[in-house]
Amino acid sequence: MRKLLIFISVFCFITAWGQGKDSTFENANAAYNAGQFENAVILYKKILDNGQHSAELYFNLANSFYRLNQVGESIFYFEKAKQLNPNDQDILVNGAFAQNMAIDAVEVLPKSQITQWKEKTIGLLSQEGWAYFAVFLIWLLVLFWGIYLWNKVPFVKRTFFLLTIVSALLLMGSLSMAFIKSSNAEETTYGILFNQKIEVWAEPNSRAEVLFLLHEGTKVQMLDQLQEWQKIRIANGSEGWIKNGKVRSLKGFK
């Protein structure tokens, strides 16, 4: 009898724990809907601290920050959400609202047709997607080749030879896509600026001239670092150094 009781209580505990995170999410949503955005932020962050995330979670968190008029945080989490789910309309619309709150308007550098095409292609699948696709293709390739070798009917043989070549090309393509994507992700780090206002200098020392000013919520690409100076590039291609800037990197999910 006692054993049964313990078993039931343990079972209840496990189920409660298992549902705990989801219920936190629901509690946070309820808090958001009730207008208690601070509470919502705390609850959403709790989920993050538990090591779980999703585009939806980041989106909700960003919305809460938007409601709290915290530009930098809001934009930061919208970007996070976009990383996980780049094509979600809700994220794009609300992200644009958050961008409106930011002080800097950085005009995006126009891109050439080729770069656009290239980025579109690379963006068709995520890095993982490309990897899975490559594996799928190599199996397909082997299958086709096997059929080609096995079969003796000339027409079938010709068809499968062609199919083999096509899949080989696709394989090479998808492998290089995955490779480009991973090296891109490794080399370029984006961050969101959290300083209310910061001067961007031409050189990493105070004798240089101030090129321009940036404000909270601007997305910057983080380049070199020299002591307390950080080289940044903004979307319009301008580069410069900031001193002791508070830039939160978008890389990694933390």
């Binding site: 995170k21 989801d22 999410f25 949503n29 989920i47 090591g51 779980q52 999703s54 585009a55 939806e56 979670l57 989106f59 919305n63 938007y66 008029n69 970007e79 990383q83 780049p86 809700d90 794009l92 619309v93 609300n94 992200g95 644009a96 609202f97 961008q99 409106n100 709150m101 930011a102 002080i103 800097d104 308007a105 950085v106 005009e107 995006v108 891109k111 656009q116 980025e119 579109k120 690379i122 963006g123 890095q127 993982e128 490309w130 990897a131 899975y132 490559a134 594996v135 190599i138 199996w139 390739l141 082997v142 096997g146 070798l149 096995w150 995955a178 991973s182 984006y190 404000h215 997305k219």
Partner: protein
């Protein structure tokens, strides 16, 4: 008494007649005098002369003279004559001075006076005649510059008031400023006085009439010692003289007097560096700051205004208002600056404001960042920072701005939303997944999955190639086929190669079994004719059939006849070749 007087007179006359010589001498009023006293020098001669040549009066300044006087007197028929040149001198330096010789030409001869030594001492206090006009003016007329603060901070207002004090019996009939001070290094404002008015006042505890001549408000623009230039007035003063008119009233006498005041040094302190706010623009005084927004919510493309207003007391005209920092998507026009400042003796008072007109183009929430305004209060000697409250402008009903420069590769995806796009609600499905996800790319599994098919393919290719090689090699393939068949049917026979009876039994059984399996013949009707018939149906050569039958017969025969091991082996090989031959044909 009278007698003695007469005698003295007589004697003097005698003496004079006795010394009826020409004399020319110099007399001074005193030998020792103060620097501020005057000296009278008389040059006296008793005969008329020409070409009087006064000395140079080195160390003195001639303030009067030469005055000439001549006296001619006859006493008892005796003529006495004297001619005097009088000079009034003021010493210009202290010490022992010499009045050198004067010369004159009398009756053709040149006479000289003897040089005289004069000692000039420090200025002495001269009791002055209270009735002299100078004294009266000095005593009863004062020009005073009142400076409110001689140690102000930079940009702190100070006032300079020039007051003219006078009292009876003086009356001022006219006055004008000879020299008006130019306040260099100051921002100055003269408070205009429409009419000079005489008021009652006190000067050093005594009642006086007061005229405020000039009022100035100054804001020092430089630190350090700054000099105020003096104000010089030229006044025409009426004052009573000693003379009286017919009715016994005193006759007024006019005199002009220049009077100067206000030369002073002002020590301007710099503003303290300690605690100086970053956004300090030089405002000094007591201020109040506010940012006023006339609308909190509006439609896109409507305009609203933000007014940055500073009111108070201080150097209002001398600093700039802080700049408004606004989100980029708002269209902001140049601010309109307006001032409503009155300058009084206590400094500038009023308000200045910057009026921004702003047109939001897109809908959304726009935070108006708090604007901070810092000033220095010279009274409390502290900096103060005032901050306007942060406000949010809610703009509805317009297109959404598209400046979402996304991280994702799908960049510059034009993102067109309809005009009444609104802020979307949160998502309700969590779809949570662990943050630390194993990446498939670059993982072991990925490489294994990538490489395995290649090996599979290789293996496959090898197998196919081997198959092809087998079909090409005829002899070998026959051998292999025979091996296979022998293994299948002749296995038992091969085992019994040593035992003759068992061997032939097994061989015969094997042959029958083989035929049974290949030709699907039932065991019951199994004889040699039938076998030959069946095999003939299978288009076998009659020779081969013969061969097979012969082998079967051989088996039966060999069971009962002595045979050698060699014969057995021969028979086995023959069976093998027959089977494989038939197998190929079937």
């Amino acid at each position: 008494m009278k007698k003695t007087f007469v005698t003295v007179l007589m004697m003097m006359a005698i003496g004079q007649t006795m010394a009826q010589e020409v004399s020319f001498e110099a007399k001074v009023s005193k030998r020792t005098l103060g620097l501020n006293e005057r000296l009278r020098v008389d040059f006296i001669m008793n005969e008329n002369g020409d070409n009087f040549n006064p000395p140079s009066f080195k160390g003195f300044r001639v303030v009067g003279g030469p005055n000439q006087s001549i006296s001619n007197s006859y006493v008892n028929g005796k003529r006495s004559f004297s001619k005097t040149y009088t000079y009034f001198l003021i010493p210009t330096q202290k010490g022992a001075l010499t009045i050198s010789q004067a010369t004159i030409d009398i009756l053709g001869e040149v006479y000289k006076t003897s040089p005289m030594k004069i000692t000039v001492t420090e200025a002495v206090e001269v009791p002055r005649d209270p009735n002299s006009p100078e004294y009266l003016i000095d005593d009863n007329l004062h020009l005073v510059a009142e400076i409110s603060n001689s140690r102000p901070y930079l940009n702190e207002a100070i006032t300079v008031v020039y007051k003219l004090y006078f009292r009876n019996p003086l009356r001022i009939s006219d006055g004008r400023a000879v020299e008006n001070p130019q306040f260099a290094d100051f921002w100055s404002h003269n408070i205009s006085i429409p009419r000079l008015q005489v008021e009652d006042g006190t000067y050093k505890g005594e009642p006086y009439n007061v005229v405020v001549w000039k009022k100035s408000v100054l804001y020092p623009q430089k630190t350090g010692k700054l000099t105020l230039e003096p104000l010089t007035l030229s006044l025409v003063i009426d004052l009573p003289s000693n003379r009286r008119d017919f009715f016994g009233n005193r006759i007024l006498q006019q005199s002009t007097r220049s009077i100067t005041a206000g030369r002073s040094t002002i020590n301007v302190k710099p503003l303290p560096e300690e605690g100086k706010p970053v956004n300090f623009f030089g405002a000094v005084g007591q201020f109040d700051f506010d940012a006023l927004i006339n609308k909190k919510a509006l439609k896109a493309t409507e305009s609203f205004e933000i007014k940055l207003k500073v009111t108070g007391n201080g150097n209002l005209k001398l600093f700039n208002l802080p700049e408004l920092v606004l989100p980029n998507t708002l269209e902001v026009f140049e601010p309109e600056h307006s001032e409503d400042v009155k300058t009084t003796l206590s400094g500038m008072q009023g308000s200045i404001e910057d009026n921004y007109t702003i047109v939001p183009r897109f809908q959304g929430k726009y935070p108006i960042a708090p604007v901070s305004f810092s000033y220095f209060d010279p009274k409390k000697e502290k900096y103060f920072t005032l901050r306007s409250s942060e406000q949010i402008i809610d703009v509805y009903g317009g297109p959404i701005a598209n400046n979402s420069n996304e991280n994702s590769p799908i960049v510059s995806k034009q993102f067109i939303t309809n005009a009444d796009e609104s802020f979307r609600f949160i998502k309700l499905n969590s779809n949570l997944e662990p943050i630390v996800k194993k990446e498939f790319w670059n993982s072991k599994l990925f490489y294994i999955l990538l490489i395995t098919p290649l090996f599979l393919l290789l293996a496959f290719v090898l197998i196919v190639q081997r198959n092809r090689g087998i079909s090409n090699d005829v002899e070998g393939s026959r051998l292999r086929l025979a091996n296979r068949l022998s293994k299948k049917y002749l296995g038992e026979a091969k085992k019994n190669l040593k035992n003759k009876a068992l061997f032939y039994d097994a061989l015969e059984r094997a042959l029958y079994n083989y035929l049974k399996a290949r030709l699907k013949i039932k065991t019951d009707d199994f004889n040699k004719d039938k076998i030959a018939e069946f095999l003939g149906q299978r288009k076998l050569e009659p020779q081969e059939i013969q061969f097979f039958i012969a082998l079967l017969e051989n088996c039966e025969l060999a069971r009962y006849s002595p045979t050698t091991d060699v014969k057995m082996q021969q028979d086995f090989d023959q069976a093998l070749s027959v089977i494989s031959n038939i197998d190929k044909k079937l």
